[in-house]
Symmetry: C2
Subunit: 378 residues, 2 copies
């Protein structure tokens, strides 16, 4: 494996910082940043803003040219392997070759089978020195959904739970307003804005009547750095095995895509009552007669890099116990709801500690008075 | 209220730091520290080590004299009002008067009815300037148990719980080894060493067969700053309403005081099977036919500044729901035990958020991989 200098690391850190600027807007494309350096100075910077627009390398080259810098002999730091295929834009590897860079440092290779090493090979064949693996974990963290989908055709699955210190999401009578603070609920808005889809269950729709949309006004700092038109609304997915949902819920009043998922077909006269932004998916049933979650996720994997589960204890628990979840995001309020409250995740009756879900803590921070934990699962 | 300078605050901080050195050894006396200052320089320091030995002021005066400093005209910073009564030592107020200090700064007045302002008045009558209230919260925190007992005849009650992120203390089959890490278990040893008594229930004794003692080897840093002989063993209190416990449990093998608490008298032939370090208390019953917790705490208040509850969900939950607990110390492990696991506290079926136990977070820190929360209750 290549060894990198402190300067290399600083430059790649900057490229990652740039890539992160696209985290709300690039999907279904990955977030990518690029820094061009000549004689120890940054001569150009760029990142990928939006699908259909310039890639990071193209933007960095344009930036350098706009500043009248010569790029010949430069080093390019790129957070993801430069692409090698003709998509909506010409291959970035070709752009770097034409710009006559001398060296390319790459954080991670692309998991996209259309690229997967081809970009690097194209550069090497052109006599460019290529080094791979600098800050790879940081670069990967930015594109967990994209990377997983390219490798498995399944989206990255984050389960979000808001609970008390004793793991309860509501009192026994269902009262749950408000366990967490406004700060945590705003943070959930940002989380929604980052995900391609939000999955919930029909019982949550009936009990809480949520909108499950992204509210631009509640996006905090994101609001100041983005135009409202650039922020995606996640696809709202409702699991409704037995076709129980009706069009009067709040969800349907907001004109952005909804997918209703059931195990049987909705009757035609019911279907036509829903607005045009609602579509339908019929799946196979699981052992409990409910929507087969794996089938659903494979379907969503056709278009979604990542999905967020905002559901009750049964659906969230099923996704975890069926080992379909990649991440658990827990907002924990410093409250005790008591033993009679509702449990946060319905999980099997484990008999040994070895059988418990395997959690790896990735991040833990205060969000208002609450604590946000991010765990990897599996 | 008096206003204090930055220098005053620095000196009182030092006095509190000194007081803290006695936190494992002074009981049933309070922790007290004293700093003597003349012309902007510390000339003597002292703290109370152990009941029956010199008080903080006496030790600070002796320290100044040993260093050949003249004390006349000095300022004394004391974390607790100097005592005014003849106990095992002469009154400290008198000592300060004899030493001819010019000014005394006190963090908190003594809650002991034998002192309660008398010490301050004694100093004032001797023409000494006295100011009260500097860093009072910090000084109070050091002596929560002593202050509460003096004011109410009840000990400070800390409930300790070790649970998972979803508020479970064990799997449904009782398996609980180990939810928290060694670091958390060592921290519990320090907590035991600070408390005058540890309360548990007979079901915990039967299920887990704990020793409930302080193990000097597991005290970490305390081990290096104290002699083993100076560390107290807490009184071990077992609630055994129906006289079910028998002498073969681990608890009884360790020769330090145990109190068995029941609602009826143990038969004479059973009593005599227990070793000499076991004593018995019979209390009234509560509405559920169990030991009346308030009666027990009033009894313990005769000798204990603070008690720690290390019990199952029923006893710990009862102490909280009966509003007898002052503090909840929660060691939270980053694990999910699942909805079928055992709840950490058996509490009433609350119907509104307003009825929940009122928690105020006082401290939150990492202990190994676990998080320790300290909450005030009520």
């Amino acid at each position: 494996m290549a060894t990198f200098s402190v300067f290399d690391t600083q430059m790649m850190s900057r490229a990652i910082q740039l890539a992160r600027l696209g985290q709300y807007t690039t999907r279904p494309n990955p977030c990518v940043g690029c820094v061009l350096v000549l004689n120890g100075k940054i001569i150009g910077e760029g990142y990928h803003h939006k699908a259909g627009q310039g890639h990071a390398e193209v933007n960095a080259i344009a930036d350098a040219k706009a500043k009248n810098h010569s790029i010949k002999g430069a080093t390019a730091y790129v957070t993801l392997e430069p692409c090698s295929h003709y998509g909506r834009t010409p291959p970035c590897a070709e752009g770097l070759i034409k710009a006559e860079v001398a060296r390319v440092v790459v954080a991670i290779t692309d998991a996209n089978p259309q690229v997967a090493g081809n970009g690097i090979n194209m550069l090497k064949r052109a006599g460019i020195e290529v080094e791979v693996g600098l800050l790879e974990e940081e670069a990967l963290t930015l594109n967990l959904g994209f990377m997983k989908r390219m490798q498995t055709q399944m989206p990255w699955v984050s389960v979000k739970v808001a609970a008390s210190l004793d793991g309860k999401t509501a009192l026994s009578n269902g009262v749950s307003k408000w366990i967490t603070t406004t700060a945590a609920r705003k943070d959930v808005q940002k989380m929604r804005a980052k995900h391609c889809a939000v999955i919930t269950g029909v019982d949550t729709v009936i009990a809480d009547n949520p909108s499950l949309n992204v509210r631009f006004d509640e996006l905090g700092s994101v609001k100041h750095s983005h135009d409202e038109a650039d922020i995606f609304q996640p696809l709202r997915v409702v699991l409704d095995s037995n076709c129980r949902v009706t069009p009067e819920y709040q969800l349907f009043q907001i004109n952005s895509p909804i997918l209703l998922v059931s195990t049987k077909d909705y009757p035609a006269q019911i279907k036509q009552q829903f607005p045009a932004h609602v579509s339908f998916l019929q799946t196979t049933t699981d052992a409990q007669g409910r929507v087969c979650l794996k089938t659903l996720l494979l379907h969503l994997g056709q278009s979604c890099n990542s999905v967020m589960v905002e559901a009750g204890a049964t659906l969230s628990g099923s996704i975890i116990s069926q080992q379909l979840a990649d991440e658990l995001v827990l907002y924990q309020a410093p409250k005790i709801l008591g033993s009679e409250g509702r449990n946060m995740l319905n999980l099997p009756d484990y008999q040994t500690m070895e059988n418990l879900p395997n959690l790896t803590l990735k991040d833990k921070r205060n969000v208002g008075h609450d604590t946000r934990f991010m765990f990897r699962l599996g």
